[in-house]
Amino acid sequence: MEIIKLDHITKEYDDGFVALKDINISIESGKFYSLLGPSGSGKTTILRIIAGFTEPSAGKLYFAGKDITGLDASKRHINTVFQNYALFPHLNVYENVAFGLKLKHRPDSEIRQKVKDALKTVRLDGYANREISELSGGQQQRVAIARAIINEPKVLLLDESLSALDKRLRKEMQFELRAIQKKLGITFIFVTHDQEEALAMSDEIFVLNDGTIQQSGSPVDIYDEPVNDFVARFIGDSNILSGKMIRDFEVEFAGKQFECADAGITPGEKVEVVLRPEDLDITATDPKLTMTVQSQLFLGDHFEIKAVDESGFEWLIHSTNGVKIGQEIGIFFDPEDIHVMRLGETEEEFDARLETYEGEDKE
């Protein structure tokens, strides 16, 4: 069921800066969404428009089918977990969490029970009488979530909510956020610039850049089939080479021709080819390409190897085994590991093209 719809939303500030250009998004209830993009891409502006802190310059915002474009933030069934939590420093944990219910003049006994449940959900039982200043960053984060979910919103917005935490705690909170979302069954819209975070938690990701949506889809779709080089570069590491389409399912790059899984592109057209570093295998027998190792970094769970091929392109390879610097290595990859991108192709055109030849396969 569609719960939130952004219909041709545009945001232009007084100084002429255009933060959002014609954004169309449909959000379904009960799913975990991420708005992913670099700073200045407009992701926080979208969140603020949904929350009601910013009004769009043009376009409409629908909540469960009703137009709420001009509705005050306090009247929306949407709550927000703020970037730096924005907990009230003069109130303790109990008072912070109870804030929303106190405003509604609910009976004391009901407030107590709900605060207790909310604190239990975020695993902070027994912290009710703590002052905010006594809490660690991770605990403050949980209080902020408890405060936001106590109003039982249909949609919870999270603005870069994990970015202030250290790496280990961030990982832990990723699991926990996902668990809380599953338990409550409400829609989460999570704003982040961290692609790992978005990939790990989301049902669906919207990748934003320059105030436009570059691509939307499941984490796997976006990772495996980026629509353009921005998405390919922003999500994960990648080797992006310029190449030429020879015919359907055959592409030329690095001076050689390879079998690939893409079609529907005019033969002879200039394209870009994406190969993920973890899809490249170092092999001694029957290599598709040979290259010379330039440098190597040990990153704990894998080695990050940089190597240059005959055409001078610098490749990034992830390998569980180390190599020697200066060594000649052979590289092998499958046709499915090659992803071909047309220059300037939009997401709709990409989806339409995919339809034409993937449809054939199924027949």
């Binding site: 005050d72 306090s74 730096n84 009230f88 929303g100 405003l103 009710a128 405060r147």
Partner: protein, 270 residues
């Protein structure tokens, strides 16, 4: 190194001893002796047995309270509005500017404005009203005192409002609060430290105002400050003057303690 640091402290220590501690000791000493220089509590018994002194004390309290109240009434909305303006520095400058002018000068200016042939009466005359007797009234005294003290109330409130994270206001509204609820539960409690120092900065000096009581209040408004001046300069009874001084200090301390008291929260069992 330690020695050097305490050396730098020396001028200030001397200052404190000579001009803060010594006068306090002297005032307390004078208040506890009679005109012959013998120890006696007669000044205090006199103060608390005579209705005029108690009346003066209550009077001082009452006027200081009124001045502080009107200052707060005008300053809080002004400070709140200031935080939302563009060119805040410019407006702040306008608020602070009057404090650069000598107090006496401002008092005399008001005499010019409020007197029988002053601007206010000339203006009233245009409508065939007046002349009204404005000088030497309670109204004139409180008006001028409030005018003079307002910057000292606006500044601390403005600063404390400025420190409130705008995200807290958004959070409050996000949780369903309208403007008044946000004001009551978030803005007001968070700006309280500024209000508190504003009250202290105005109430305490207002208790012992004496220049204005004479120039604007025409000695009809008698406060403890006026009484101190009378005893020291006119009747030369330093002992009684000091006694009133000590009582003023005690009153001020009580105000300080009362306004800065921390509230204790109830524990909530879940």
């Amino acid at each position: 190194m330690r020695k050097k640091q305490s050396f730098f402290l020396l001028p200030y220590l001397l200052w404190i001893i000579l001009f803060v501690i010594a006068p306090m000791v002297l005032i307390v000493g004078y208040s506890l002796t009679n005109s012959q220089g013998h120890f006696s509590l007669q000044n205090f018994t006199l103060f608390f047995s005579k209705g005029t002194f108690i009346g003066m004390m209550l009077n001082s309290f009452w006027y200081a309270l009124l001045i502080t109240f009107f200052c707060l009434l005008i300053s809080y909305p002004a400070a709140l509005a200031l935080t939302r303006l563009k060119n805040q520095q410019f407006w702040l400058m306008l608020v602070i500017l009057p404090t650069w002018i000598n107090l006496l000068l401002k008092a005399y200016a008001f005499i010019g404005i409020f007197s029988r042939d002053g601007m206010v009466n000339q203006f009233l005359h245009l409508f065939g009203l007046g002349p009204a007797e404005i000088m030497f009234t309670d109204f004139a005294f409180i008006f001028v005192a409030t005018y003079i003290e307002i910057p000292f109330m606006i500044m601390p409130i403005y600063n404390s409002l400025k420190e409130i994270d705008p995200a807290l206001i958004s959070a409050s509204s996000d949780l369903g609060a309208n403007f008044w609820q946000t004001f009551r539960y978030v803005i007001w409690p968070l700006s309280w430290p500024g209000v508190e120092s504003g009250i202290q900065a105005i109430f305490i000096p207002s208790l012992s105002l004496f220049m204005l009581t004479r120039l604007i209040g025409g000695n009809r408004v008698i406060t403890l400050g006026t009484a101190v001046e009378e005893y020291f300069l006119t009747t030369m009874n330093w002992n009684m003057g000091s006694t009133i001084g000590v009582i003023l200090i005690v009153l001020m301390t009580i105000v300080m303690v009362l306004t800065s008291r921390k509230q204790h929260k109830k524990e909530i069992k879940l």
